[in-house]
């Protein structure tokens, strides 16, 4: 009889921001099984959405997740517009694209910071978060808020970007680009980071396809999907950018995909700011009518999809919300089994689970259900392994 022990990470682990429950079963140092228990963050938003008007729902879904705050409104308004079949003005499409890409940059920088902390590179954490601030400042300049921007509405956007602001925005983007390039190079060239993350937590391409994962998790395993290119929307078919796809499926690839994507996002924002046509920013929508619609957006974590059924009242009859982590978190089980417990925290972070989007880590003894290692200890194990590796260089 093997002595399988179970390691829970969470809930209320301060670094894993949301209450979440990852359970790891170990034999010795190796993970042999894993479970995820979600539900700590469930707020009943889909049901709530039925008792709020379409306009109110945009604000509601913004607060599903603070990190990818714009992604849900982006998909939702498109679902409603899919029902009505209306075309939104060109300028609105460009503004939506700019906001969506700025969010991608801030979200990926946030992730790099957290992953850096898990590995034990606290400097990376401080740097990444410090250089996130200019992105938040740009948000504040455009929308009035660092987070939860309230920019979207059915039919267009709520606020315009002043022509006179564009030179300042372009200059801010240039600064952000300098930092992102430097960070990308620093991370990808660092031998300790490479040794620490290459070959760890591999998600094989066939598993990625069977589990239908999305976003950077899919692209890091060679699955070349990106809603911006595959099902174009907003201004994404008007700008030049690359799909970033890598074949290896390990934590290093996941990090590299995110870092390289921030560079692509900067290209997109720059093109949009320069080429945005003048004109109105919204089409008035009097009623959504009867019907059903689907809206998709490539959020920082992958495809967000909203489905709306309308019965000609002001309230959605049904509003289904599927965040990318709902598809990605189950894949973590495939990536962590067989790995060392010291890597568990890192592999979990590699999936970039935005728990509040989905719903929302410990080693526990299988027989007694007692906690053997807490989340803090798991992160410390992760950091210690890096220290040992560093001494070899």
């Amino acid at each position: 009889m093997s002595d399988k022990k179970l390691i829970p990470i969470g809930p209320f682990h301060p670094l894993l921001e949301e209450p979440e429950f990852f359970k790891f079963y170990v034999e010795g140092e190796r993970v042999v099984d894993a479970e995820v228990r979600i539900g700590y963050n469930h707020r009943g938003i889909e049901k709530l959405a039925e008792s709020k008007t379409y306009d109110m729902d945009v604000f509601l879904v913004e607060r599903i997740c603070g990190i990818c705050s714009t992604s849900h409104p982006f998909a939702f308004v498109q679902a409603a517009e899919d029902i009505t079949g209306i075309e939104i003005p060109e300028r609105a499409k460009f503004i939506r694209t700019i906001v969506g890409e700025l969010e991608r940059i801030h979200s990926h920088l946030l992730w790099v910071g957290l992953a850096g902390h898990f590995i034990g590179y606290n400097t990376v954490f401080m740097w990444a978060w410090k250089y996130r601030e200019p992105v938040l400042d740009v948000f504040e300049a455009i929308s009035g808020n660092r987070n939860h921007y309230g920019m979207f509405k059915v039919g267009g956007v709520r606020r315009d970007i002043k022509e006179s602001d564009i030179p300042a925005l372009l200059s801010a983007i240039d600064d952000i680009e300098k930092f992102c390039s430097m960070l990308t190079k620093a991370v990808m060239d660092d031998p300790v980071l490479q040794a620490r993350t290459k070959g760890i937590g591999i998600l094989k391409k066939q598993d990625a396809l069977d589990l239908c994962v999305v976003g950077p998790v899919a692209r890091a395993s060679g699955v070349a999907i990106d809603i911006r290119k595959d099902h174009p929307y907003a201004a994404y078919d008007r700008v030049d950018f690359e799909k970033v796809v890598l074949p290896d499926g390990d934590v290093f690839s996941k990090a590299a995909v995110r870092l390289l994507e921030t560079i692509e996002s900067i290209k997109i924002i720059r093109q949009c700011l320069k080429e945005m046509p003048v004109g109105p920013i919204e089409t008035e929508v009097r009623e959504v009518g009867i019907g059903e619609g689907i809206g998709q957006h490539e959020a920082p974590r992958g495809e967000v999809i909203h489905y709306v059924r309308s019965n000609n009242s002001n309230y959605p009859e049904r509003h289904k919300i599927r965040a990318p982590s709902f598809m990605n978190v189950p894949s973590f089980k495939k990536t962590v089994i067989g790995e060392m417990i010291a890597d568990a925290a890192l592999i979990t972070a590699g999936v970039d689970p935005c728990y509040c989007c989905t719903e929302r880590m410990a080693v526990v003894d299988q027989a007694t259900d007692k906690i053997l290692l807490s989340g803090n200890e798991l992160v410390r194990l992760c950091q210690e392994k890096t220290e040992k590796l560093r001494k070899c260089f």
Binding site: H231, E317, M327
Partner: protein, 150 residues
Amino acid sequence: MNLIEKIKEKFGGQVEIFEKSRRRIYVTISKTQAKELVRYLFRDLKARFSIATGIDIRPGVEILYHLAFDELGVMVSVRVLVEKPELKMDSFTDFMPASDWIEREIHEMLGVDFVGHPNLTKLLLPDDWPEGEHPYRKQTFESEKENDER
């Protein structure tokens, strides 16, 4: 042969196809044949399962399986009616592992039993949530003319 033609060729009179736009195709099929259709789309035509939606309507629970054809830029939504009061549907987890969690969610929120699912336990609701209470069930049905104008 385009997508709609392929589906018609294989399933002929069993399906009702509504092409809402170039990007949005809705296919209605009986619940006993849905598994074959979804398997065909997912395995043979290499679609990506994006998500399933469950909606409480008067005759039963309507489930829509949304499958994405990323290379074509098209979403195909397979519509199935699971009648009340039995509310039994085949699980698709044997050929499509990605449907695991959403079947659990539809089960707890709407009360549909997915036959063959390996672990139909609560996903989002707390463990002490009362049995038989499904939050997404409607108290009243807003529109009677559900099936017309879609």
